[in-house]
Amino acid sequence: MLEKNKINEIYKEEKMINCIVTGVGGQGTVLASKLIAQSAMNKGMKVRTSETIGMSQRGGGVVSHVRIGDEIHSPLINLNSADVIIGFEPAEAVRYLPYLKDEGTVIVANNPIKPVTDSLSEQNYNSDEMIAYLIDNVAHLFVLDAETVFAECGSIKVLNTALLGVTAASGVLGFSMEEMEKSIHEKVREKFIDMNIQALHFGAETYLRRKA
């Protein structure tokens, strides 16, 4: 009842950050979205996120919506409103492009994950086509070569923190490397912390080297 009759408070204008993290079930998108959310909370910001849980986790496409700001109501992002899309897989990044703002950023790993349906049919999913489409349609695009993550970090399981390293270095979310590192220390199991921090730095260095 406290809210009653405060006519002018139904909407407020304020700054917010909308980030979409997308990939295929099992790629570690949920941890990535948790690390972003934790970093925002550590700065005293309010967060809403939404995760894909349940049947579609079994090899299906998964997406996390991460929203940062004080006056956010919905856990889901509107079309045409995401500041950043972090794609763990080229086709999944393309799938969520309608959510991206006109001047938005896409950070994407180039490794395709072929669905079983693709192997069964004669149609071939071509990830190069997806990357080409992203190049043509995205204002700010960064493509991370997933093979190099595997080669340098020893496991493809840390693709998520490598992508976060790129994101942190690019500055699009406003979190520093130190802030991301702190979140990894808080949210990742002890024995996996070192490899995740290594991957974070690998992602950041790859970004900085490319931009240099």
Partner: protein, 600 residues
Amino acid sequence: MKMELLMGNQAIAMGAIRAGVGVVTGYPGTPSTEILETIAKKNPGNIYVEWSVNEKSALEVAAGAAYAGQRTMVTMKQVGMNVASDPLMSLAYIGVKGGMVIVVADDPGPISSQTEQDSRHFGIFAKLPVFDPSSPEEAYLMIGDAFEYSEKYNTPVLFRPTTRVCHAYATVQVDEACYQSNPEGFIKDSKWVIFPRLSYFNHIKIEERQPILSKDFSSYIYNSVIGTGKKGIATGGISYAYTREALSTLKSECKLFKVATPHPFPEELALEFLEGLEEVLVIEELDPVIEKELVYLCGKYNLKINIMGKLTKHIQNAGENTVDSVTQVIAKFLEIESPKPKEVMDLPSLPIRPPVLCAGCPHRASFYAVKKAMKGIKSVFSGDIGCYTLGNAKPLEMVDTCLCMGAGITIAQGLHRVEPNTINFAFVGDSTFFHTGIPGVINAVYNETDIVLIVLDNSTTAMTGNQPHPGTGRTMMGNVTEKIDISEVLKAVGVKHVVTINPFDLENAMKEVKIAAAFKGISAIVFKAPCIAVAPPSPLFFVDNAKCTGCKKCIKELGCPAIVKDGNKVKIDQALCYGCTLCENICPFHAIGGTDVGKK
């Protein structure tokens, strides 16, 4: 007080702990599962928590504890409420002493369910109060209110979040202090024994309580009316969040009615909302519950107000709302321009990713063994609820029917009565077998119906995230208990032919399927192999390029996500392979093997 990022389901659990809950029961089901799991994880030590065998048992265990004065909570998904509806309807007449909250999670979409049923109707049907949270942080506090209302009116209450509240995360201010309850214990009294005469008198009391609750809810903090104007929007649950978001996007205002307790409907507050309005748009998911209440009030008080919503086709009947769909409908209602949609993107054709059985999943081997053994023989495969429903997909195509928990066993019997010359298989998972499968088996034994029962025993409740069940020998209190052996249960209820075999022993598995199919009367095979999520992976497999002819039999027959086309040949994705051996067994050219074969 501290700020934590909590999933809606975690917030509900933490809120219940804060409210001093003492007994928590439930059965896993998306989107409700994490509530009970969080209770078990964050148990301060004084909470008894169990996965019950099914929702009916869960509700009854909790009711018993509430009779003894304990604060209790039951968790389930919407279809679980159907299973628990028998005790629910009667308990509504008996009532409780300790606060009892029945959390039933609805799934608009549906995203992971068989139905789009609206559990608010169960509140109306059983005449029980219903709470409908609109965000995780609200759920955290509202669950405590639900316990208080339950004790104030000595009635169980329903708490109905939806998927987008259950699986959303939000920053929640968490209280360190917990309410301390001291259950009085069970006091013998005839009021605990349901009889027709008692039900008659209690029915009168329940009807008398309805308007009192309605009045009480009109001043409940989470029911609210804000704004002014001649147009109003009535909404509740996650649709309230979407509405607020849409009004922000549209930079627009109108009168707004938030309904946190759809039953009994807060009539006084609703009349305050309707006062001076000409048009109302009702935004809700699933069924038009709020809408019908408002239409009813307009009739009752002779108000000339145009109520628009699902009944008038302004909102779609099926599927979930989104911020975008809500923004569009509100813009139209307020006669303002909706935000220009982004130029329609002409996206390239994207791969379709239906959910599939994991690489290494033992169900694939079981389905494959039955399929091969029954090749050319007229047979129908009845499936059930669980990961193994995914056996319906190509290339296995081994699920011909699927209805609800435990129904595969009995549907197979009905099919067989019409076509006795067909071999009728019923596939059931281990957790589903304990849930509602056993009575169906007894039915077949008793009525001498000749079906082949296949129990897919992967030693876990896999689809919902690997919960223990009576066959696993573990409880949510961390105890090791006796494992209930499914084959012994089958023998005990009179199944004369019962075989247990590992489905990855493909040749013998196929042989056993043929024997079971030929057996007169109900026969059963327990395919026993653990879910890859609970078993350590074996050595990975490789394709020997020199031997692979590119026939793609492995891809065409198994549909394993780890086997992919590689030019004219195939390769195994090492990130996905679990070394299950199934592909090695079926490769006609022996091109697939462990680390010794073709590793480069």
